[in-house]
Symmetry: C2
Subunit: 625 residues, 2 copies
Amino acid sequence: MNRLHKIAINLVFLLTTCIAFAQEKIIIKNTDDITQDATAYVLNKVQNANSIKGSHFFFEKGVYHFYPDKGLEKFCYISNHKDVFVKTAFPLIGKKNIVINGGGSTFIFHGKMIPFLVEDGNNIKIKNVEIDWATSFHSEGKVIDKDLKEHTFDVKFSEEYPYEIRNEQVYFIKEYYEHNLGQTILFDEKRRAVAFNTEISTPISTKQKGTVQYQIESINYKYTQDRKDLTLRKIGLKDRIKVKEIKPGVLRFYNHKKALPPIGSILTTKGAQGENRVAPALRIKNTDSFLCQNVTIFNAGGMGLIAENSSNITLTNLVITPSKGKVVSTTADATHFVGCRGKIEIRNSFFENQLDDAVNIHGTYQEVVNVEGKHTLGIRMGHHQQEGFIIGKENDTIGLVRLDDSFSPYQTLTIATIKVINSRYQLITFKEEIPAVIKSGDLIENLSAYPEVVIEKNTFRGNRARGLLLSTPKKTLVKDNYFHTEMEAILIPVESGKWFESGSQSNLTIVGNIFEDCNHGGHSRGLIRLVTDDDNQNYAFSNITIENNIFKSFDNLILEIANTDGLKFIGNTILKTETFPMLYPDNPAFRIKSSRDIIFHNNDYKGNASQIIQKDVTIGELSFQ
Amino acid sequence: MNRLHKIAINLVFLLTTCIAFAQEKIIIKNTDDITQDATAYVLNKVQNANSIKGSHFFFEKGVYHFYPDKGLEKFCYISNHKDVFVKTAFPLIGKKNIVINGGGSTFIFHGKMIPFLVEDGNNIKIKNVEIDWATSFHSEGKVIDKDLKEHTFDVKFSEEYPYEIRNEQVYFIKEYYEHNLGQTILFDEKRRAVAFNTEISTPISTKQKGTVQYQIESINYKYTQDRKDLTLRKIGLKDRIKVKEIKPGVLRFYNHKKALPPIGSILTTKGAQGENRVAPALRIKNTDSFLCQNVTIFNAGGMGLIAENSSNITLTNLVITPSKGKVVSTTADATHFVGCRGKIEIRNSFFENQLDDAVNIHGTYQEVVNVEGKHTLGIRMGHHQQEGFIIGKENDTIGLVRLDDSFSPYQTLTIATIKVINSRYQLITFKEEIPAVIKSGDLIENLSAYPEVVIEKNTFRGNRARGLLLSTPKKTLVKDNYFHTEMEAILIPVESGKWFESGSQSNLTIVGNIFEDCNHGGHSRGLIRLVTDDDNQNYAFSNITIENNIFKSFDNLILEIANTDGLKFIGNTILKTETFPMLYPDNPAFRIKSSRDIIFHNNDYKGNASQIIQKDVTIGELSFQ
């Protein structure tokens, strides 16, 4: 073989290699026949995308509509959502090395669709796109009048929110969807944020007890039932609130339980809890390496992003904000992570006006039902929004937990296999024998499925509920963020009885953040709050550092600490604002119980609290510095 | 090798062969730890059943309970049912050569379970078992009083039917389930059958028009929507009927639209149409060779048996009857067959008091939406209870139908592949090119998926609706059966606009049957009725023979014929009964339109009709003989 021949062979090899590894580029053109309903066209391209070499989808800048009629349908168990059939044009399922580059386009979805459905993927990137729906999953109207004597109030809805009144109940009619009044909260139009002290007026109590019952008590169940599931929860409740149309677009609300809402405030409604989370914008499951960059989400029937059992998720320049003068963006959390591992990074993002938390990161507790043989446990999902969730995979370390005794597992086991029997019940087989001490009602959590977290340079504002909910023992950094939230800016919980969200936060650093008038919704809570719902003195949290932050607050309570072993509060500045009247002037600045090794050092307190630190007997000498 | 050695080797071979082909026998013991909830135990055995050699499950005689809590969950698109997640202990999926022999046992199911879920099977037999539910999917109470002035009536429900009244609406609460009033009909307790002339009192109109609407008309859809689907159908309707508890167990019904029901009659209720068919007793799909023998079904939340896309189904000694003094058995059809082929045989069976037809055999029409390339059609399911139905398989012959022009296909095509996009929309690729004349709105039907039928020596009585609905062009024999049904004993339809059930019956012989006081519910219809819902003079039905039957009827109309080319009515006896007063004394005995080649011969008419035959101009000379 001569030299030329050799070079030729090498060239051929090189070319073949390049082609083999080159990501296929698919350009979607901004033409009428595509944009008017891009669903079938895009779906076909996505389903045929090369899953080995990978595919780069590039959309010419434009407005693309997606309708469900020709969308791929898939049933999804989605954590913290209703389990639903949804339709999508982007089933990124079992795909590798995919880039969806919107090229600055706007994607308008119609009805119960999931814009991006990512499952069993690897290296998936979604970039440069705005996501909105033709009709929103919520409705909003302005409070224009009230009658103190009759205790009624009137709300005006614009033509954007068609409704129908059936038997004194209002139903907001959307494209392919409708919602009843359900969950409500007030917004302040000027501040473009949840209204101050909304909790005295909302949520509206739509239901009340007092049905006529006959022989209901004769129905007994052999096994534990979730009385809050979508069937059983109806029992014993009837409609409380009644509405009447005063003139087209104006509804009068009768039989409201709480204080009348202020005139000028915006009443937002999204339908019944459990029924109203049907179409998150991004659903990520069993996926490794996911990037979301320069994406704007204006609305969603649920969360902006829900990630489950995935690893290494990066969100950068993700914007969640209302569209077209509305006050509400997504109808649930901006982002939510369940059972994720590796690293979660959220940077340079802006989450505002969504109807639930900005970020929630946790694992799951599942309940032990029975022992099936030496190695197998029957376990049960506690919450109906965790139906179908699979806690882990082979070789993951499962902790057996009895929260009455300790927040830490009393023993660990290694997963061999998991067999899903139904949405509530699974059989988990372990490599080791099940310990004899186990009993039904014990919990399991996956110790292998907690992520490291970096949340840096983001803005969290205007939304209902919390900023961050953190429940991972791994290294967590919350740095240089801005918070203006209705409830706690940062909540560190251990919660087992209602949501079954696991994870005892440790190794957390909160540094360089600005907290401005958080927790203005009406609750008496700390802006940062470490709390367990188990009334004991065990330690749940450790190695917490809160350093060099600025707390600007209209009210007193800054930090609540419970069940914590080791917390440093150093170099922080606390300032009093006049944005709102104080709600709880008797509160201290710091409330501490069942904790040890709590250090205050080098802080600058310019607040109003007459008592700086309030603590229980478990804590020894402690001075604010 | 000596002779003994050879014999030994042969023996070993023989034994091995026998073992290899012997069906494994699995005995389920009647012990407390199994029978109290047999679900997990049986499920495990069924899932591990040998699918090649086959398995014979034998239950020791006893009462076995099955609970959903540990049942296998599966989502099922079920034709003519709600598409649901159901649980089962018998997922006979992808199995061959299975016998389930109940050994005379009773299986009691709890909640939304499918007792036997048979899919993708071959040679499946279910024998010697009684199927019931712990709490029924319907409710029934006795009309005990009425007030003519206030137009109210009172119904007493026994302790077996717990209920709750929420905002003047009654909800019947079951184990794991509830139903509202929804669909209702009266039964006659003494006759153990649907009440005479029930149609003047029922169904109760639970809904009425007259909602307050705002901007609803602004919601426009790009594509055709099914306004009867479970979301859109709510628009424009509110509750009409109101109930009030007079004393425990006794409900007064206000605002009833029709005549008050007779005192002493039994009001049965099963919840809203579309929501109330969630758990048929036997679900058979994509299965060849299914036998059901000596099986009794006392109740089901839906049909007794629903078979789809299956072939060679034999039902023998199948009994469908109410349990424990109830008047209702299954809440929908006794049996129903969609897109089946081969042979359907129903013999020596007894179907009574179910809330819909005894037997319905048909194919499906699907609507042409668009042409996608030379060989591919986008098609759409017309009815929401056909969602997910796949019309055929490779090499099946599909007919293109335009019913305005003809009941017969204008062209046929051969299926290559079917791609399911969503529950309403599929892409069917054909081996031939799509003809240019096709247009959206045309229908397709599968000409390969019609069965031969034998229905012999059965009793059909006491139920709501029809006896037989037949829509197959293949040879069909209806012989030696007894009919006592609320509507037509035998309905031969072509129906495209509502249910999208295809098939123009031909080659039908109805011989040796007794029809006794059928169609007593109140409609003016023939006991046997050939009818199309397309108002044209084309021929849909041919080669029909009705011979040597006995019609005993309180009313005049015996036979209605339309769009028929060739019908012989020979050797039949028509007798007048005094069971009920006549409802339509002016009706003829025979009504014929748009037909030809109709022959009456050798019949014995002892009825009351002053006009024997009423016919339109399409038919020439015709005399009753």
